[in-house]
Amino acid sequence: MKFRLKQIASAILTGCILFTIAACGGKHPSHAPAPEGRRVEMRHAQLLRIIEADDATTLVEIVNPWDTTKFLGKYALIERGKETPTSIPDVYMRINVPLERSVVYSGLHSSVIAELGGIGQVNGVCDVAYISDSLTSERVSNGKIIDCGSNYSPNLEKILSLKPDAVILSPYENSQDLDKFRRIGLTPVEAADYMEATPLARAEWIRLFGRLYGNKEGADSIFNQVEKDYNSLKRLASSSAERPKVLIDRIYSGVWDVPTSGSVTGIMIEDAGGRNPFNSYKDGGAAHLAPEEVLMKAGEADIWLVRYAEPKLSIDDLRKENALYARIRALTNGRVYGANTIGSGLFEDATFHPEKVLREMIILFHPESVNGPLKYYHKLQ
């Protein structure tokens, strides 16, 4: 009896070990052998792969952020006018580049396309009211770019009527729209940049936009500069002996969302030579804390950065809003800085130009190291 129990236990143990090995082995998407070609080295992005199959064909693979064993999409970008190589498997959706006509869902993406000089190839955008890029807004107001409605429920008939070569969108988990898109003949490109874990990984997605809009060299060179500037600013900040404690945002509906150590904001605070009081939370993204916990952990914050969406915000507004705010050291020390998220360009630049946001954070954290005018933040009065 004893022997049988031992046998069962060892069988279970072996099973568990085999299962664990199998599970660990599946961290990367399993797939048929990738077509031959030169793999473009992605130095930061984990969800984007670019392979140059030949002079006229670039293969793009976008990893599913919610299940990294799968792909969200595989694309073969074929230079316009060139033959489609027969060796490329059918699973790679064919897109002729540079795109001549496209619909772009996110204002962040239309900004980067404009920067790459491709805004003339954009015919439709979503969430027009929240586009801050002046080139895009101008083309919307003179009718060259069509408003395709909300990001969440875009007007498909309008999109179809624009006959886009591709629709650039930010994917979300278990979205059913994409299958529908493919059925009606649209080509969705799922730009999952926002799911990347680090500021530079997000910024590296500009290299995909460069390849879609015919400015590969421009995009690569912009990214190289972004990376160089970001890293040298980070080095500069790390040389400062003092590391101020930094608090972000404020309470809403009884909850204070704070950046964890793995979040992009958390990483940027550290890279700018600050200390994130919520580093003990490691999950990535935000921790949703009770205000009393924030007060205990960050009441001594030296600097408080408040991103807000209302037309204006003052120290007096903060004091009136919640008595807790008056107990935060940064408020009593006069080191509260606000950034209006509508119009300041903070959110737009944070994705593809994190070096600009980092620079500004260093100006605020270490004015002795970097100086200059502020673009996004201003001292709250």
Partner: protein, 329 residues
């Protein structure tokens, strides 16, 4: 006897809400803060400016929603009636959705109000008052309570469909703000606003207790109640006004808290085995406050993430309802 037990449970829960929270504070520090002898200003602040107002808000909101639920269930002679079923909460939600979603979250903060934002509070109050006004006007024309209940439900569907429409038109930020509001919280009422909130809710609760006797007579049917000298129309107006004020102000301050209004009258009925509102009303009120206080305590149990109140009210309430049902069979 059972009412005394409920009072004791409430007192224990208030104490637990003061001593336990998202951060662990030694019991002696909490005691010294409560008696004004605490030297640590942060602890003193947490107890008096955060835990105390939150506990009182939970107590009042739970009581108010429970009283509303009981009044509406008796008025409509329907065990499924409640502020959310009749469209009063949906009206408040629509008001808030209009404020938040149309401005894409731009108005998520702002001027001072009960819940920290005058626009949101105004939206919630206007929404619930609007629905109640429609119900009041219709209650003058529609004699049949069942029809009135159906009208309320239709208004609720209409408000929900408009919220869906607004949600589809808004931005991610606007939607997130609205979803956050929908989670419900008892910690939005600042100490400065607590007296005002307390006065309104307590006055409405007093009115609910005063309405207990006419509610008993309404149980016999409108005709019997009229014969016994009850002005049915006036009582109906008073009941609807009190319920609307309670649900409107509580929804404005705490978000749309579900389940409490619907379930607590049943828990009280099952516990007391009576339809006498003179006993049922205080028991319902005390059950509602106990449920809200327990949920507030539970929302702080997960370190690093506040659990939404609306995720907890059914978790805390359903086992109690099932337990009482099985025990009393």
């Amino acid at each position: 006897m059972r009412i005394s037990a409920l009072i004791i449970i409430n007192l224990l829960l208030i104490v637990a809400n003061l001593y336990l929270g998202a951060v662990s504070i030694p019991a002696d520090s909490v005691t010294s803060a409560l008696f004004g002898t605490c030297r640590d200003e942060t602890i003193d602040f947490i107890i008096w400016q955060s835990r105390f107002p939150t506990a009182i808000t939970a107590l009042l909101a739970g009581s108010g929603l429970a009283a509303s639920g009981l009044m509406l269930q008796t008025l409509f002679r329907n065990p499924l009636a409640g502020p959310s079923v009749l469209g009063i909460t949906s009206g408040a939600s629509l008001g808030v959705a209009l404020v938040m979603l149309l401005f894409g979250g731009a108005l998520q903060f702002g001027e001072l109000g009960i819940g920290g934002n005058v626009a949101v509070d105004a939206g919630a109050l206007a929404g619930s008052l609007g629905v109640t006004l429609i119900l009041l006007v219709l209650s003058g024309r529609v004699r049949n309570n069942l029809l009135l209940l159906i009208v309320g439900m239709m208004i609720s569907y209409l408000a929900s469909s408009l919220v869906t429409l607004l949600s589809s038109l808004t931005t991610a930020r606007g939607l997130k703000t609205y979803v956050n509001w929908g989670f419900g919280t008892f910690s939005n009422v600042a100490t400065d606003h607590l007296p005002g909130f307390t006065i309104i809710v307590v006055l409405c609760l007093v009115a609910s207790i005063l309405l207990a006797k006419p509610l008993n007579l309404l149980l016999l049917g409108d005709n019997y109640a009229s014969n016994l000298g009850v002005n049915v129309k006036r009582v109906r107006t008073l009941l609807l006004t009190t319920t609307c004020l309670l649900s409107g102000i509580i929804t404005a301050a705490c978000g749309p808290i579900g389940f409490v209004g619907l379930a607590t009258p049943h828990i009280a009925r099952l516990m007391l085995r009576t339809d006498n509102h003179l006993l049922l009303m205080p028991a319902t009120v005390l059950t509602g406050s106990a449920l809200a206080l327990a949920c507030n305590l539970g929302s702080m149990l997960n370190p690093g993430n506040v659990i939404p109140i609306n995720a907890l009210t059914p978790i805390a309430g359903v086992p109690v309802v099932i337990y009482i049902l099985l025990k009393k069979r």
